[in-house]
Symmetry: C2
Subunit: 719 residues, 2 copies
């Protein structure tokens, strides 16, 4: 039990050196072939025709040469240091080949061949063997069952894949779990003129994971934006930590991800609210949110966002100026701007004056600026100079519709020129495809992001604005609260020794009290007299609830009484309650006594919860009580441990968060008090891995400054 | 006042004959020019080079010929029947030209020139004059300030625009309020290889409206799908009726719309809940919903949906089969399928058997079917034959990633072949852009919709599935309830004569009772004794509320008492209440007495409302009470009058509608009772245009079969 605590604390991420994979000086290709249509032939030809700058050794005992390269009969026959072995042989011989390579001092292997986990049966065993070899001998293996690796850097020019294209050089690094998708992405990128720095298909990830590859792209100077396609993640916190590191520092790199496979398998079996609400996709949303990763829904959106991020300048805010030569597209852009959470600020007075002076009288000088249909590049220049200088403007979108008088290419040059000295994001929206193509190429050459229509432009800019906020936000610490760790250990031992894995209210409240959660005064009374005495000390009114290890549904058996105001009432209630419960559940039911609680003032009901994801560890939940959680499923999740700002953001990510900010004349709720409970919960579940699921339901929250109180809770333990 | 009632009743739509505009045999071009870069030159050249099959008469008194055509000095000099006059002269002479043309018997004018409403000032007056002439002389005028008209039909080939492209022939008809957007759309369509049947930019729509043009496209045999870009609509109910007609019958045509300009101007000033919640965009959403028009958010989505609709076969349901040669894209497609509301059905047993028999053992025969990476066209054929025959499958998506063994073009031929005899929608998703291009062309030639990625494919298919449901749904009638029309007229007269435009609870409840709304028994008591007597007749418990024409906030002045259970309590409450109200509001405040109501059983609180949109007429609102409406703005709108199914659908279009279906063990609410109230409200506000705004808040709704009761209401009248 004790090993878990340390394991689940967040440590700095671990990097491994994959540079020999991406920039090898010598490569052995095992399974190279001359037979057309084979992977072995495709890989060898891609290496040669891709312009690889190192040496390739085809390994083939049956051929003297392949594609004009002299073959070697075996790895042992190579009289050179091999940095990377690319394997395209049948699956059943691969383990032996890797052992052989490792004996010869080769550390890096790219296994393109399929025939492993994905085919089930013997494939699973084969893959297990590969993993064992990698771990035992400290090797790096990418794959198996993947398309391969591409590095377009001029000094390397590595195409160790069986794809039909070598992509053009660019600033996008891509890692993908699906090889087939990669072929489609390469083809699509070619059609759109998009280039890549590095491109990796990592397949079954027997050894090298998406986290290792993220670091490899992060350290690559040619990669400005990281794109990912994943179907799962290897780990939770390490992924979050890696992304944290990559998206911060001097040169934060944005990470865009497509994650597919939205299933809710496994959720049905969970015993708590939290457990039943945490479908697998909610977990991924929480992880990406915490990691600062931008999740997109389609390939089009992926490349649109990448286009905006190619320009490294991040906006200082959400204020967006639009300059257009047509009204309709200006309205479309404004709509999209608002839809994606950007803002259309008013210009400062001097900007308006400058525009009024320089634009024709029929132009609209307010944001969006309509330079009208006959505008040529000089008018665009005047308008752009004015609006880029405005302090309310954080980014600028230039819309050009190719009308009769429009000198689109000249305008593109003007945009590129202004971009060269403007320190705000400036993007072109050249509407259409064919007529505007030469102008699009001009913008591309000058590194100006360029879109065909305002909708996609605004969606991408909005993602960039959110990323800018992420990068600049203050990073708060993990708070560590004083807590009685041993008392909780003892309590858990006691319950488990008694064979109880479900903690009812009394032990749950005791446990939470040990960790400093605010609980209303409570005590167990074992007789009517004791109940009366306790209530007098506590102060009226009080609530009484039957307490016993097996009694889960207290109300159903007459085991709850509210709002008792005198000792007399309490005494009477005690006797009645014991009778009623024994009447319903039988005389032999174990009763500890009656739980006496000070009756709470009414407030807003909140649920805090935790369920342990089998792969990612403790997952915290937050939601409003009652129908909001149960019927509307309006809840948010984060992996524990949570930093202070994460605990706070979590409260704002439910749809109905406005209800906590004071509506209908109510005062706002005490959000800091909720966040503190969330952090205490985070610490508790991290320090006590025996706690499998936990619901605080409800936490009663009062107005700002008045705190929150745990009213009821239940806890499920691992046996 | 009485004219409004008839006017607002829904009548059959009016069609006008615009065929001479779209297929003229002779055209006069007034303002034709030889000067390069002028609209006059561009239009003339487009007519000539576009291959127009009729006769063009350039009208120009200063030139003998233009582009090899003999000019005429004036319209009067043309010795032929001119079907259409295209005007590209300066704006100030256009009214006179139209008068002259009308004198000569020309009925149809296309005014491309700008310089009207859009420039303000004298332009507004010029436009008004055009409207006057059109109305007085029964002419049809398209424009002013537009790009013009295109008709690609072989027997016409009309390009009366100054666009730089004549689009290729196709099945899409497009009408656009923005000319500049049209140029961009044409350019984009050219790049994507998309063709059009008719293409109209209608500019300021001084005369011919989007509704007239909808009918023109509906009657055109070459147009299979109608695309619209609008910034506003000319009318509400006539638009709904027109779309209804076009989207029904033997050959329903789908209508796709981009509507921009989401403002909330004017909403702030509204006095009722309903008024303040009805921003202009909510009105358009309601109109499109009622019209069966598919609203899209971007140009990309517009053409994606159009692509799916080119195939006229509508699916019988939402069950979607996916056949793929790669796992990742299959998962993406499944995700998108679910996201857009489609379903992934299980196959029938015989389908599974057939697939198991024909596919290799590593293939996945469940939906989505993975034919795996080495699949060639024959395996695709076997899989497609099996799944298209499955009764659970209503549409099929074929995903092809261009892998090494993939014979993409052969597969495209197989898809086209199966499409030719399959009576279900079948679409291709050929992933990429460049390598797959020849195969895409094969699918296009055979009329098979084709997409680059699963996301856009599924979004478009989902739109089509919704359209199929729209086309096939039973159309219910407008219900007409018995109501005491005269009593309401008298009540309204009485209140207005007394100078009151805000009806407080008592007259509002009376008014609603005249229209058969369920109200709890109520009566006005003018003394303590009367109150006691009334309550005895009514039955206890009762609610008492102060009633007077100026008393709006009853609770604040001690004017509400709940749950009174004896005559004594009632008597005492009466005296106290009168004292309290006079104490707070002054002795001179007018008090009618105390409104006595039978206390209602608790139920779900609902708001029904109506606000009159200045352009579109009465707009009905529906929402849950309290925070759902006020803080969460979770409401739905429809234009009155509403048919029975519209009233029902309206209840289902709020986000939190599940709360009415019975959650946490509650019985479902009485939706038919709410819908009936909505229809009564529809009838009431249609028959009494003096009612400007109305809130029934709350309507208390009980379990299915137990009805609903109006608890409170207020009404605002037009002076």
């Amino acid at each position: 039990m004790s090993q878990d605590v340390a394991q689940q604390e967040s440590k700095g991420p671990v990097m491994r050196d994959l540079e020999p994979m991406f920039a090898p000086q010598a490569i052995a290709v095992i399974g190279a072939s001359r037979r057309p249509g084979t992977v072995g032939q495709a890989v060898l030809q891609n290496l040669i025709y891709g312009g690889y700058t190192g040496v390739v050794y085809p390994v083939n005992p049956k051929a003297k040469s392949l594609s004009a390269l002299r073959c070697v009969p075996s790895l042992a026959a190579i009289d050179d240091k091999v940095d990377l072995a690319v394997i395209v042989t049948p699956a059943n011989v691969i383990a032996d080949l890797i052992e052989e390579g490792a004996d010869l001092g080769i550390r890096n292997f790219l296994v393109i061949s399929a025939g492993f986990k994905e085919i089930g049966g013997e494939g699973v065993e084969r893959e297990r063997q590969l993993k064992k070899i990698a771990d035992a001998r400290g090797l790096s293996i990418i794959g198996p069952n993947c398309l391969g690796i591409i590095n377009t850097a001029e000094e390397v020019r590595l195409n160790a894949t069986f794809a039909t294209h070598m992509p053009r050089q660019g600033q996008l690094g891509l890692i993908s779990q699906s090889g087939a998708l990669c072929t489609a992405l390469l083809d699509y990128a070619k059609g759109r003129g998009i280039g890549f720095s590095r491109f990796v298909s990592f397949g079954n990830k027997v050894d090298v994971s998406e986290i290792d590859l993220l670091f490899a792209l992060a350290r690559d100077v040619n990669t400005k934006v990281i794109l990912m396609y994943v179907e799962d993640l290897s780990a939770g916190l390490p992924f979050i930590d890696a992304c944290h590191e990559i998206t911060h520092g001097d040169r934060p790199k944005p990470i865009l991800v497509i994650k597919t496979g939205r299933t809710t398998e496994g959720a049905a079996a969970a015993a708590s609210h939290t457990g039943s609400l945490a479908g697998s996709d909610e977990v991924f949303d929480a992880i990406f949110e915490q990691a600062g990763v931008i999740r997109v829904e389609s390939v089009g959106e992926l490349f649109d966002c990448a286009e905006a991020f190619i320009d490294p300048i991040l906006p200082e805010g959400r204020g967006t100026a639009i300059v257009t030569n047509a009204g309709g597209p200006g309205i479309m852009a404004t709509d999209a701007c608002i839809r994606y959470g950007l803002k259309i600020p008013r210009f400062q007075e001097y900007t308006l004056k400058s525009l009024r002076f320089q634009m024709p009288p029929t132009a609209s000088v307010k944001n969006p600026v309509d330079v009208i249909g006959d505008a040529k590049h000089d008018r665009y220049r005047a308008a752009l100079d004015a609006v880029t200088a405005d302090e309310n403007v954080h980014q600028v979108v230039v819309i050009v519709t190719p009308q009769m008088m429009t000198d689109v290419e000249q305008i593109a040059h003007v945009i590129a020129e202004i971009k060269s000295y403007c320190n705000k994001p400036l993007i072109g929206c050249l509407m259409g495809l064919v007529d505007v193509f030469p102008a699009v190429e001009i913008l591309r050459e000058h590194g100006v992001p360029c879109f065909s229509f305002p909708e996609s432009a605004m969606r991408a800019l909005a993602a960039k604005a959110r990323f800018a906020e992420w990068v600049r936000r203050p990073i708060s610490a993990y708070r560590k609260f004083e807590a009685d760790h041993n008392a909780v250990q003892e309590l858990l031992q006691r319950e488990l020794s008694a064979g109880r894995t479900r903690l009812v209210e009394l032990p749950a409240l005791e446990l939470l009290r040990h960790y400093g959660f605010p609980t209303a005064p409570f005590a167990l009374a074992k007789s009517a007299d004791e109940a009366a005495a306790v209530s007098k000390t506590m102060g009226f009114p009080v609530v009484m609830k039957i307490s016993g290890p097996q009694i889960l549904h207290k109300t159903d058996v007459g085991g709850v009484k509210l709002n008792l105001r005198t000792e007399e009432e309490v005494r009477e209630a005690y006797t009645q309650m014991i009778q009623s419960v024994r009447g319903r559940l039988g005389a032999e039911i174990e009763i500890w006594g009656v739980l006496m609680q000070k009756m709470l003032e009414p407030g807003k009901e909140i649920i805090l919860g935790m369920t342990r994801d089998p792969k990612f560890g403790p997952l915290l939940m937050f939601g409003l009580g009652g129908i909001y959680t149960e019927a509307l499923r309006d809840v948010s999740f984060r992996l524990a441990p949570v930093r202070e700002n994460v605990a706070t953001e979590m409260l704002k990510s439910i749809r109905s968060h406005r209800l906590l900010e004071g509506v209908r004349g109510e005062p706002p709720s005490d959000l800091p008090a909720i966040a503190e409970c969330q952090m205490r919960l985070s610490q508790l579940v991290n320090e006590h891995p025996r706690i499998q699921e936990l619901d605080i339901n409800p936490l009663i929250v009062y107005a700002r400054g008045k705190g929150a109180v745990v009213a009821d809770a239940r806890i499920i333990l691992k046996e």
